[in-house]
């Protein structure tokens, strides 16, 4: 085995130019595939960030039934035993208590349904950086009897900071929840969906409004790694009261997940086409290499080299080239994608911006720098290349020494 490897290795360096060309075809294939995939994945990250990280959070805990009803009757007490479980889990870095319910918001002229959210201003600052989204006015304090209103909703009501807004909804056990609040600030979210329907007020005031002293409806958890959300949620489920439900972000924003899923399917078609083109590119180079070395192979077989051994050496050569090319490709792709990461493509035109906004994301195309994409694409290309390597293997096995030497 060692001998074959040595032979293959020496063959590679005997004709450096040929090796470099073949490696280059794998190298560029990896760059292209990675570029395409990371652009796609990057746009999904953008979508999830503008929705999940800025509002819903990656994991939420509610009373069973709340998610469907959004009713104050399904609220729960954030007690010490639950607190102990959360504090004991090192992956959970923080939490925000919220009360969230649907209510009508009204001014003298206009009425519109709104998502009214009572929250802890300090915790919100730490977790979703809500204070950075303030467009005009000021951030609210825990004891304020004032609200923050989404920019889209403010536009609809034609209100500005200092104006008053009336909230009308259903509180605990069907009581009427009605209140009148001054607007302290206007918030702008990456997701216009949120901007169009959110009203936020300090949790104390919300508990008073909905008549739910001491209970909350949502507990939003902060974690470091979004990809671990589902695993952490599953773990928590076993540890806390069975009357509570734990939901990870894919369940919290199913529409977004659907949208990403559909886009991915579409992406597979294009990726498949791209793989076809690049694999033929590699195949072409390998084919040329074979043609070029026919004479050499003929001589080797003529002087007694076993065809199977020769085929194996050639196979090893192609595999080595593919692996090297794929490996170098990872490093080649990094600066290309890094460039687009630092200088994201901004969707030109008003219409483009509007469309992206409708889907709740910022109108930029920024590729993902997730290392796993690089490795995955390099692996796929390397696998394709090693499948292609079967062709020279077979063709050397069938080699006729006399014909080969005559060419």
């Amino acid at each position: 085995m060692k001998l074959y490897l040595k032979l293959a290795w020496r063959n590679l360096w005997r004709n450096k130019r040929r090796t470099v060309i073949t490696m280059a075809s794998v190298f560029f294939a990896v760059i292209m595939a990675t570029l395409m995939m990371s652009m796609k994945e990057g746009s999904y990250t953008n979508m999830t960030n503008s929705m999940v990280a800025s509002y819903t959070g990656f994991i939420q805990i509610h009373a069973k039934g709340y998610w469907d009803s959004k009713s104050m009757d399904d609220s729960f007490v954030f007690n010490d035993s639950l607190k102990a479980v959360l504090d004991g889990n090192k992956k959970i870095t923080g939490y925000v208590e919220r009360i969230e319910s649907f209510a009508l918001s009204a001014t003298r002229e206009t009425t519109k349904g709104a998502m009214v959210v009572g929250t802890d201003p300090e915790a919100e600052k730490r977790m979703t950086h809500l204070d950075e989204h303030i467009d005009s006015g000021e951030y609210f304090l825990a004891d304020d009897k004032a609200v923050l209103i989404g920019a889209g909703l403010a536009e609809y009501h034609k209100v500005k900071v200092g104006d008053t807004i009336v909230l009308l909804g259903q509180g605990y056990h069907g009581t009427n929840a009605a209140g009148k609040y001054p607007i302290k600030g206007i918030v702008k979210f990456g997701s216009p969906d949120l901007s169009k329907q959110l009203i936020m007020l300090p949790i104390k005031e919300a508990q008073r409004l909905y008549g739910t002293e001491g209970t909350i409806s949502n507990l939003v958890l902060l974690i470091d790694d979004a990809s671990e959300a589902t695993a952490i949620a599953n773990q928590l489920r076993g540890e806390i009261s069975p009357n509570l439900e734990v939901m990870a972000w894919p369940d919290l924003v199913p529409d977004l997940v659907d949208m990403i899923e559909a886009d991915r399917v579409e992406g597979y078609i294009f990726m498949f086409i791209l793989y076809m083109v690049i694999s033929f590119g590699i195949f072409g180079t390998v084919l040329m290499m074979l043609a070029e070395r026919k004479h050499e192979f003929g001589v080797l077989v003529a002087i007694g080299m076993k065809r199977a051994k020769l085929a194996f050496v050639v196979y090893l050569e192609v595999i080595t080239i593919s692996l090297l090319g794929a490996f170098v490709g990872i490093f080649g792709a990094y600066p290309v994608i890094g460039y687009f990461f630092l200088n994201p493509i901004r969707f030109g035109g008003e219409e483009a911006g509007k469309m992206m906004e409708e889907y709740g994301m910022e109108p930029i195309l920024q590729p993902s720098l997730d290392v796993s994409i690089f490795i995955k694409q390099a692996a796929i290309v390397a696998i394709v290349a090693s499948i292609i390597a079967i062709y020279p293997f077979i063709s050397v096995l069938r080699l006729s020494a006399i014909k080969a030497m005559r060419s």
């Binding site: 206009t110 009425t111 349904g113 949208m259 791209l274 076809m276 590119g281 072409g284 035109g349 409708e358």
Partner: protein
């Protein structure tokens, strides 16, 4: 003479030529098919938008779409309806009363868009009756029937004959509540619309919202030809300057963008594919030149100057493109025709497609113009790809080149 040498060179080494020809044909197929797939997807979406959502154009009071208040109704709706009844190319038109509402069941309160329709006319314009999956079309409930989506039925925990309370703002801005009974449950192709749209009889709304029977917020018109939507909208905008007349391109957010700039997306993808093709051709041609070191050295030794060698290799590429190009076009055309007739079912890969208003089956199709664009791009790519290897050939030193095996 040069042409003849180049032509013969191609056929002397068939494997090499075949590799380049197939790479070119494959690149052309890949570019054309990606575009066709994208165009097919867009077309599907456009048809869905027109046929089941927006129709071809709509009339509104200029403030209505922005503010959605009952007081912004269309005045003079009768004359518009009369116009539409006699206009050519109009398949149907229907007036609607639209209100944002808060919908409440025993379990949940949530936002809804309440749409008052004329059941008979709506059948013609949006085929609402064909979207029913349960119950019937405003028939079995005599007082205040309402059609809700399957999604709403699930989230509000209601079924047929359940009661729903709808709270809306009336003409004077007062908040009024009224109860409706579920007569049917529908499911349209578009999950986002299913989230909010609830349909009632238009005739039930005037008494609730203090409107007159002829006060519509929206008149939707369906034509027999997509291309007429824009010009006809413009024509009626001129005739009714006090109203807003807009085609589907402006009504559905992002549609104009999707149609006008959407092909850029396809070109980005085609671009990446073509660059991949560029590198694969460069590599193959480079191999070809290296392999022919001896032969090219010989040509130079017998008096071929550098310009001639360069021209010869470029000419070979042109010949190869002229064979690979049409071959690729033919394959692409047949492939697009075949998939375009049978459709490609994405449903097998993702069930979520319908949720977004995209049909799960895509019928790829490509306009003649796009075929030409892609062919030109692939040819340009092939010529570009040949320059580097051809330059490499120039750098060969004849005496050294001949010595090489």
């Amino acid at each position: 003479m040069l042409t003849k040498i180049a032509w013969r060179n191609i056929w002397r080494n068939k494997i090499r030529s075949l590799v380049v020809i197939i790479a070119l044909a494959l690149g052309l197929w890949a570019g054309a098919f990606s575009s066709a797939f994208y165009e097919g997807m867009m077309k599907q979406r456009i048809n869905d938008v027109i046929e089941s959502e927006m129709s071809h154009f709509q009339f509104h009071e200029p403030n209505f779409r922005e503010e959605l208040q009952a007081k912004y109704f269309i005045s003079g709706a009768e004359s518009i309806e009369a116009d539409m009844a006699s206009a050519p190319h109009v398949i149907g038109s229907t007036g609607r009363v639209v209100a944002t509402a808060m919908m409440g069941s025993a379990n949940k309160n949530g936002a809804a868009k309440l749409i008052g329709v004329d059941p008979e006319k709506e059948k013609v314009v949006t085929k609402l009756n064909e979207k029913l999956i349960e119950g019937d079309y405003f028939e079995s409930v005599s007082r205040n029937p309402i059609l809700i989506s399957q999604k709403m039925a699930e989230s509000f925990h209601v079924k047929l004959k359940s009661k729903l309370v709808l709270t809306v703002q009336d003409l004077n801005g007062e908040i009024v509540a009224s109860s409706f009974r579920v007569v049917g449950i529908y499911k349209s192709g578009n999950g986002m619309l299913d989230e909010v749209n609830a349909y009632v009889r238009r005739s039930d709304l005037p008494s609730i919202m203090s409107l007159d029977a002829q006060d519509y917020h929206e008149i939707a018109v369906l034509l027999d030809n997509h291309d007429l939507a824009e010009p006809m909208a413009a024509e009626y905008q001129e005739k009714y300057p006090n109203l807003e007349v807009k085609s589907w391109l402006d009504l559905a957010t992002g549609m104009r963008y999707m149609v006008e700039a959407g092909s850029t997306f396809a070109y980005v993808i085609v671009g990446i594919i073509l660059i991949a093709l560029l590198f694969s051709i460069i590599n193959t041609m480079l191999m070809a030149v290296m392999e022919r070191t001896r032969e090219i050295g010989m040509l130079m030794a017998v008096g071929f100057n550098k310009r001639k060698v360069f021209m010869m290799i470029m000419l070979e590429t042109v010949f190869l493109s002229m064979i690979g190009g049409p071959l690729g076009l033919l394959v692409a055309f047949l492939f697009i025709q075949a998939t375009g007739t049978n459709g490609i079912d994405l449903g097998a890969m993702g069930e979520t497609y319908n949720e977004l208003g995209f049909s799960a089956i895509v019928y790829p199709e490509l306009a003649l113009e796009s075929y030409i664009n892609i062919t030109v791009m692939v040819f340009a790519m092939a010529i570009l790809a040949a320059i580097y290897p051809a330059r490499k050939a120039l750098k060969l030193n004849p005496s050294e080149a001949i010595r090489k095996i």
